[in-house]
């Protein structure tokens, strides 16, 4: 391809004249740049390239580092701020935060209490269900009839409450035995569960009910037999169970 700056042909006479002048010009001396000047130019050329290639392709590094530092600082700031807002309060005792281990122990204890509370609720529901199975009388008459009937059967056939009392006693005794054995083996004493702590009270109430029933049956038997000792027994009974609703047979004025 022809270069755009290719020589255009100019008039031949001018070319001849230039050739003649050029011959004479060529015979002039040819001064050269000083060596010191050459060295200065070459050094300058070398420095210009060295400046550019000293960190090739790393011109973005300062900007990137600046942005990264700001990003990390901002994220740390927000993270600490969030921690401050949502941090769970530590367990305090006498105004001081407890150590981490004690806080964990406290948390475990709270969990156990929650579980015990749930199990007691379950037990209450179960107890209500059993009592409804027994058709507990709500009116005084039906209650008296039930107690009299129970008293009559008491000496011959054990009541369901007796079985229940026995079962509960067995369970409590087993629990106590297990706890005693654990303690005798050197294991640290463990807190009683709610079921274990409620069981003796239930046993006591059931035992009292059975005892009252038995004693009423005995008083009725003495009265029917004409033994005057029934009055003395009845007084003892009312002292023992002042709130107990007596059957009609024992409420006679002549008692």
């Amino acid at each position: 391809m022809k270069h755009p700056l290719d020589e255009n042909k100019y008039q031949p006479d001018l070319a001849d004249e230039l050739r003649d002048i050029g011959d004479r010009y060529g015979r002039l001396d040819k001064p050269e740049p000083p060596a010191m000047l050459d060295q200065a130019v070459l050094n300058s050329a070398r420095r210009a390239v060295a400046r550019k290639s000293r960190h090739p392709g790393l011109a973005w590094m300062p900007a990137f580092a600046t942005v990264a530092v700001f990003g990390i600082a901002i994220s740390l700031f927000y993270q600490q701020a969030d921690d401050g807002f949502i941090a769970e309060p530590g367990v305090e005792f006498n105004g001081k935060l407890l150590p981490q281990e004690e806080q964990e122990a406290f948390s475990q204890q709270v969990e156990k209490m929650t579980e015990a509370r749930e199990s007691s609720a379950t037990m209450k529901v179960e107890t209500d269900r059993v009592q409804s199975d027994e058709a507990v009388p709500t009116t005084p008459e039906s209650l008296r009839a039930r107690k009299i009937g129970v008293a009559n059967e008491a000496s011959a056939v054990p009541s369901r409450s007796d079985f229940r009392s026995a079962d509960t006693a067995k369970t409590a005794a087993a629990g106590n035995a297990e706890r005693d054995s654990r303690q005798s083996q050197g294991a640290p004493p463990q807190p009683l569960s709610l079921a274990e702590s409620v069981a003796p009270v239930a046993i006591e109430l059931q035992d009292k009910d059975a005892d009252a029933t038995k004693r009423l049956a005995e008083i009725l038997r003495l009265k029917e037999a004409g033994d005057e000792a029934w009055k003395e027994e009845l007084e003892k009974f009312t002292r023992t169970y002042p709130d107990y609703d007596l059957p009609e047979a024992l409420k006679t004025p002549g008692r």
Binding site: L5, Y10, Q11, L14, R24, D38, V49
Partner: protein
């Protein structure tokens, strides 16, 4: 093995090849220096103009475009640098106003060997700046008319006209 072109060398230097610049410098150092030396005839000023031109070449290495011959691009920078120098020293207007004889260098300082060389040297210095520049670009640097036009920023017809006037004046000065 064919010689690597000036343009290729300049491109290699723009990419960081210092040896390419060394080669390029060796090719053009003498002609460029004499271009300035014949214009101002003062070695100190010629040195400054010469070094300044190469500094501009180094700084402008990434702006060099291949379609333009390197020599034309180099002498365009040199010519503009020289014009700036003339503007600053008002030498250009002084030369064109016919006060050349007052500023002519001592022939002995220019180391002219014989009378004919002295006459030629003085004749070149006595030319107007634009004609002298066109003539030196032709005789010393060997540029073509179109390249001289590119370097000096005028049309090639203007270059031919300046060359014709310069040759005519030189012949007269040499005969007399």
């Amino acid at each position: 093995m064919p010689e690597v072109s000036d343009e290729k060398l300049m491109q290699r230097y723009a990419k960081g090849d210092v040896t390419a610049f060394n080669e390029l410098y060796q090719r053009h150092r003498g002609a460029l220096y004499r271009y300035f030396f014949r214009q101002v005839s003062d070695p100190v000023v010629a040195n400054d103009l010469y070094q300044g031109t190469w500094e501009k070449v180094i700084r402008s290495r990434n702006s060099f475009q291949n379609p333009a011959p390197f020599a034309a691009w180099l002498y365009r920078i040199a010519h503009n640098h020289l014009v700036d120098h003339f503007r600053k020293t008002r030498l250009s207007s002084t030369l064109e106003s016919g006060e050349l004889k007052d500023h002519r260098p001592d022939p002995s300082e220019a180391a002219i060997d014989d009378e004919q060389h002295r006459q030629l040297h003085e004749g070149i210095l006595g030319l107007p700046e634009d004609q002298r520049s066109a003539l030196l670009l032709k005789l010393e640097s060997g540029l073509k008319v179109q390249e001289i036009a590119f370097a000096t920023g005028v049309s090639h017809e203007t270059v031919k006209s300046r060359l014709r006037y310069a040759v005519s004046k030189l012949k007269k000065s040499l005969v007399t």
